[in-house]
Amino acid sequence: MTIKINDAICTGCKSCEVVCSAAHVGEFSPERARIRVVNQAAVGESLISVCCVCSEPACVKACTYEACTKDEIANVIRIDYEVCVGCYACVEACPFHAGFMDPVEHVPLICDSCGGDPVCVKFCYKEAISVG
């Protein structure tokens, strides 16, 4: 499965960020979320950034420690935090700006699709984020 996004119907409520952090770190803390919504109020737009799992992921290529890999079966990017040194090469390499930095643990944050049942999708009432 992959997560699909549709910016055109996103209302910018950031529920996805709020619940993503809650599900992964046990508290509501959007800065630690693996999905982001940037509200560009001046033009009335909201842009969603989340990993949609490229066929040839730049993040995997950028990782010189082999901590960042693609799980072809689950179709998800995995980071082995035991190996990761927190250099953020993967975050910087992503052409879609879909990787983030955890301000607390100082490690990269990339969507793990919640093991196939993404919590953000459950809370996106507009279905701007969906599973396809």
């Binding site: 055109a8 119907i9 209302t11 910018g12 409520c13 950031k14 529920s15 709020v18 619940v19 952090s21 809650a22 599900a23 770190v25 046990g26 508290e27 509501f28 803390s29 959007p30 800065e31 630690r32 940037v38 509200n39 109020a41 001046a42 033009v43 009335g44 737009e45 909201s46 301000p103 607390v104 919590v119 459950k122 809370f123 009432y125 507009k126």
Partner: protein, 601 residues
């Protein structure tokens, strides 16, 4: 105690002292949060008779326990201060994402006092709080200031609270822009920031808000969102937003028209929800809100604004005889940029229009003059020419030119968008609202003009208004938005789940009544009496011209009787002063009771 951060930030701009203090847990259980705790701080910190624009006045940005969580519609935050427009207590709620950001930075609220020697802005990132130079921002509009803050690397993507030129020039109905597109609109909180030389607050938080048993909490909220928030009675917020009310108000003859002379407007069809939809760019929600009542609209000339909301449409549209949706979008955007309340601005313009047309005083503006309206918005913000007079607000300007008979205000705050002669319940609610004429403290019109009760009697209205005031005082302390009407049972349960503190339906309503009494105590201290719980002369004396309530006035004697009934229900004396034994019984905290006794001695 979860949900709360348990910590307050205190900033004295005179001495540049920045400190944190614990949020008393007793206040959390007794006054809940945002509105209630904000009021409690005001009673503790601000002495009677304080000049609203003096350094002793405080401006408090206070969240509730729900802010930052995924509880639906919980992103709102209260701005509490003493109002320069009314001299009474002021609580203005604002949505967007600023409230949650305070929590993510680790604070339940920020209390600001004093006055900086030169323009500054406050920058908060978790425990790092700095007072920054804002000389370069002074004089700039809210949108430009926000853009400036967003464009700097170190403040990139910070959430902002900003005032415009109107706030800097101490216009008593200037607002605070939150994320530039939401406003703490009413009562002049912008001028209080301006008086402190505080141009803006920028916040970036990286901490978290905790609740117990997160996985179960998420499932619980997911269920509430589906079965309650997103159920039929609330879906209008998603499909139409507040502009939907225009057609309803027009139908029931409660739409303020031409400075509250009529209840229906001939061009209402040009400014209703369909008109807003014709300019719709995108729907917009506040943080964590599944309803998303906000609308980005774009006028034909390209102007983009979030709005116009019903109140703006009613007061600057029908009330000013402006039947143009593009005109309203332009008006809305300009007000948001210079930082004045669209409602009070619409009201003062309508007042000026009527004064001019009747030959009472020539302000050089007549009903429906769009370009002149836009010009006057800027003139008010910069206090230029006629604008200097209009910037006084309706009450002071009417006193100055001797036009009280056409002034529509209560306690100095201009009437909102529901005609009180078409809803006697709303009339009583306006008269007794803590911050002056306000529809949100008790939206009684929903039950009489729009509902099943007879709108033209005061029978049963005192009970209704009290109940609504208490409920909303508690809801505004959580905070839960007006757009969501969960049952008291649901709210009490939510409170316990988020905070881990006990709460029952009965106690929740008691909290509301307690909080409502706090505002009364503050206003009583400021000299507000029975005669200030009043309505404008026009409402009592002049029959409405059109609509369902055509030919009707609010009968003074019945109004007075209803007011006495409300006081009795609240256990206040004949002058509207809370009785000490009632306060004790309500559970007002002991230090405050002692303070009140001290005041008496």
């Amino acid at each position: 105690m979860t949900g709360y951060c348990g910590k307050m930030l205190r900033v004295d701009l005179t001495t540049r002292k920045i400190a944190t203090e614990d949020l008393p847990e007793e206040w959390c259980t007794r006054y809940i949060g945002a509105k209630g705790i904000g009021y409690r701080y005001m009673l503790q910190d601000v002495p009677a008779g304080t000049d609203p624009l003096g350094p002793e006045n405080e401006i408090i940005f206070m969240t509730g326990p729900f802010a930052g969580t995924i509880v639906p519609t919980s992103s709102r935050m209260a701005v509490v201060t003493k109002s320069p427009l009314t001299g009474a207590i002021l609580m203005s709620l604002v949505g967007g994402s600023v409230g949650p950001e305070f929590k993510y930075a680790g604070y339940d609220g920020v209390i600001i006092s004093g006055r900086a020697s030169a323009p500054v802005f406050l920058y908060i990132t978790n425990e790092h709080v700095t007072i920054e130079n804002a000389r370069a921002l002074w004089g700039k509009g809210i949108f430009e200031t926000d853009e400036h803050i967003q464009s700097k690397g170190w403040t990139y993507q910070a959430k902002t609270l900003i005032i415009g030129p109107a706030g800097e020039n101490l216009v008593p109905f200037s607002c605070i822009g939150a994320d530039a597109y939401h406003q703490a609109g009413r009562g002049g909180a912008g001028a209080v920031m301006g008086s402190k030389n505080l141009k803006a607050i920028a916040i970036k938080g990286q901490l978290g808000v905790r609740v117990d048993n997160m996985p179960e909490f998420l499932t619980y909220i997911e269920n509430i969102r589906k079965t309650d928030t997103l159920s039929e009675p609330h879906l209008w917020a998603d499909t139409d937003g507040t502009p939907m009310v225009v057609d309803l108000s027009q139908f029931w003859g409660i739409l303020p028209t031409l400075n509250f002379t009529a209840g229906q407007y001939e061009n209402a069809g040009a400014i209703n929800s369909d008109a807003v939809k014709s300019r719709l760019k995108k729907k917009r929600a506040c943080m964590s809100c599944p309803l998303g009542c906000g609308r980005f609209t774009q006028a034909l000339d390209g102007t983009v604004v979030e709005g116009p909301e019903y109140e703006t449409i009613a007061l600057a549209g029908s009330n000013c005889g402006l039947g143009s949706i593009d005109g309203l979008i332009r008006f809305n955007k300009l007000c948001d940029d210079v930082g004045i309340d669209t409602m009070s601005t619409g009201a003062i313009l309508a007042f000026a229009m009527e004064a001019t047309e009747r030959g009472i005083f020539d302000f050089g503006i007549r009903f429906g003059e769009e370009e002149r309206m836009l010009q006057y918005v800027s003139d008010i913000a910069f206090r230029r020419g006629v604008g200097a007079d209009l910037a006084l607000g309706v009450k002071r300007l009417a006193a100055k030119i001797g036009a009280e008979s056409i002034a529509l205000e209560v306690k100095g705050m201009e009437l909102p968008g529901y005609e009180p002669r078409a809803s006697f319940g709303q009339a009583l609610a306006y008269a007794t609202s803590d911050r002056g004429a306000c529809h949100q403290r008790a939206f009684a019109a929903e039950f009489d003009a729009f509902g099943k009760l007879d709108p033209f009697t005061f029978e049963g209205k005192a009970v209704l208004v009290k109940q609504l005031q208490d409920l909303n005082a508690a809801k505004d302390s959580l905070v839960i938005c007006d757009m969501w009407r969960p049952s008291v049972k649901t709210v009490a349960e939510l409170y316990t789940r988020v905070t881990g503190l006990p709460m029952t339906e009965e106690e929740f309503m008691r909290c509301g009544e307690r909080i409502w009494n706090l505002s009364r105590l503050f206003n009583d201290r400021e000299g507000f009496r029975r005669e200030d719980d009043n309505l404008a002369p026009r409402i009592f004396n002049e029959p409405l011209l059109s609509g369902r309530a055509a030919g009707k006035c609010v009968p003074k004697s019945a109004f007075d009787a209803s007011l006495r009934e409300l006081y009795a229900l609240r256990r206040w004396d004949a002058d509207g002063k809370p009785l000490p034994e009632a306060l004790e019984e309500l559970g007002i905290d002991a230090p405050l009771l002692a303070q009140l006794r001290g005041d008496v001695q």
